[in-house]
Symmetry: C2
Subunit: 195 residues, 2 copies
């Protein structure tokens, strides 16, 4: 047997072994955090995967501007995605703390409804970590809702600065760093890429 064949047989056995050990089917809680590019994009990539399988997705976006992003335009066109956005610009634009807290609450109530809704398989709560780190929403309330979520529901939470308690609860945590970003070299946010 060639070295390549032998080596690949070993890899195959290892992969088969790992797969055999993973037996549980369940709705997972995923946290995507860190300062790098790819957190929200990844959450929307899973929306795309769900749609491919004929699953239904719910999306709530905290802290996005008033302009029409690609993800917003996409979601509005697809009946298999329920979409809700805070839609009032970044908090540093509004400079209105109580208004931000009220809009955060409204957004969070929609997210809770989507998590409870048995017709929705996957819920993306985009930039939730930003509102918990601003102190606009108590992470303990998020933890409590996630703990009592339906077993088969997938929930994905994105944003910098994820709270420790949410990280602890999550099944999968991804930390994204960008050692290099086009923006640092004067490249504007690009349509289809950043928004």
């Amino acid at each position: 047997m060639s070295d390549h064949k032998k080596e690949m047989k070993e890899v195959k056995a290892k992969v088969a072994d790992d797969i055999a050990k993973a037996k549980t089917d369940k709705g997972v809680i995923i946290v995507l955090t860190g300062d790098g590019k790819g957190k929200s994009s990844s959450g929307f990539g899973m929306v795309l995967r769900c749609l491919g399988h004929g699953m239904k997705a719910g999306v709530v976006q905290f802290i996005k501007g008033q302009w029409k992003t690609g993800e917003m335009l996409f979601c509005e066109k697809h009946s298999d995605v329920e979409y809700f956005s805070m839609g009032e610009g970044f908090t540093w634009d509004t400079q209105d703390k109580q208004g931000d807290i009220d809009r955060t609450r409204e957004c969070w109530e929609r997210a809770k409804k989507m998590i409870a809704d048995p017709s929705i398989d996957y819920v993306l709560i985009d930039e939730l970590n930003v509102v918990t780190s601003f102190g606009y929403l108590d992470p303990s309330e998020v933890v409590s809702v996630l703990k009592s979520k339906p077993d088969n529901k997938h929930v994905v939470i994105t944003g910098r600065g994820a709270d420790k308690s949410i990280i602890e609860l999550a099944d999968t945590v991804s930390v994204i760093e960008s050692p290099k970003h086009a923006f640092d070299n004067g490249v504007k946010a690009q349509k289809g890429i950043e928004f």
Copy 2:
């Protein structure tokens, strides 16, 4: 002025300043690497954003199984996505090195065509890093194609173990680590999430 208002005004000025400095519009090269979950998902999230804006996407997937993934099913249904997959299972399944190299070549030729095609705005080359790190494709060939790509074309490359030369060329590099993954606790790959 309240502390909050003052603080947020400062944030706003900083953000405005950063945005003013970013003046260039160009097609970006993005590399998503690292061992964590979120590389391919992020690439497909940008596909979704592009579709929202009415842009056209091309997707080439190296090293995917023969089963129908969510992303494959989605892409096949959407005429604004040109899709091509190696579709012969992981290399440790086939244990056929020359066959893998041939299929890699075929896939790469398709990726090159998409990069050259003026009707395509965004090209996702999924798991390219895996085939370059296996030695099935010379990274210098990838660098050479990327260097001469059309200015306005976005190219996203994913997979563990990105080659140094491709990282050097990229405008944005994201490294994804997963300190915690559901799979390690016996949870199977979930539909809509991992595939």
